[in-house]
Symmetry: C2
Subunit: 191 residues, 2 copies
């Protein structure tokens, strides 16, 4: 998606250690008019798929997911990160590894909000190793919900998540796929 790629080139900052900082428009300050354009692109791609719910993960996925839900005219459910191991048994629970923070955390979603009738679009801001997206697939499987596909803003295509999840059969529509980048200003997209 040209608009997102141009925005990354203009406002994104490549840091050491393979970090792309897009906090001026995507995940700290948020440009909701950009989010709407992204949502409309996902709607164009998934319009005829009968999606009835958006599933995302806190925190930075929530804004994109809500704008997307407005375009799809359906509700959002966001999976919650938690450190509490034992709470009430009315949740689906899985583990997600964070490569950024080199830690593991549990994510949960209430059993009341995911079920066999659901046809889900998974939405998130980044796809790199695929841990978060994989966690959302686990929760969907536990609920018996059907995952129609994923809508990702930025995919680091040189990391394995996208390939591995597509091999598992997941349809992934990433709006900007970075082939490579470095601190000296190199940034190449896969079109």
């Amino acid at each position: 998606m040209r608009m997102l790629e141009e925005r990354i080139l203009r406002d994104g900052i490549v840091m050491e250690k393979d970090v792309l900082k897009v906090d001026s428009f995507l995940n700290h300050q948020m440009d909701v008019s950009l989010f709407r354009a992204m949502a409309e692109e996902w709607y164009r791609l998934y319009a005829d798929c009968g999606i009835n719910k958006i599933l995302t993960i806190e925190a930075s996925g929530i804004g994109i997911a809500c704008i997307t839900a407005l375009v799809f005219q359906c509700p959002v459910v966001f999976a919650k990160k938690t450190k509490t191991r034992n709470i009430a048994g009315d949740v689906y629970r899985t583990q997600v590894q964070s490569f950024t923070h080199n830690t593991c955390y549990d994510v949960i979603v209430s059993k009341r909000f995911l079920g066999p009738g659901d046809r889900l679009l998974l939405v998130d801001d980044f796809l790199a190793n695929g841990a978060a997206l994989s966690g959302l697939m686990d929760l969907s499987d536990m609920a018996g919900a059907q995952v129609i596909g994923a809508g990702i803003a930025i995919e680091k295509a040189y990391q394995p998540g996208g390939r591995l999840l597509r091999e598992r059969g997941l349809r992934i529509e990433s709006l900007a796929r970075i082939a490579r980048m470095d601190e000296n200003g190199t940034m190449e997209f896969i079109s």
Copy 2:
């Protein structure tokens, strides 16, 4: 706001210990069409105030804030909760006490995204003791930004936050103000 009050009466669940569970439409599963109606009500109330940015706090404020920003045609900034005491000095930082979880946490916002030119609407899902909202005011003050007012979905009006913050001069537009509630089905709103 009648639509929100009716939704609380229909789908809200009063738990022991003064907890109102509205996770089926507000802060776990999210009804974005309701959020848009709420946003339009805030826009009606604040339309002529020159608001140029929405400030909220993760996680459950983000969805409401993004839909509100779409209506106001401005960006959102969300303050991040953090446990790390010392990170780079390019953030404003304050402490927020959580009465729900009986703990304290730091919230931060990047100095790049709040400044003297900003005229802010603070948005959050709940107002009870006012700790989160007060934290957002602190961050705004540090940045020299002007807080025009707050947009709150549900105010527990029998708790002191709303009164204390209004006494400090903050304009607060709460769309549902609960005068009292209990597990037996009592729920009274201040109109």
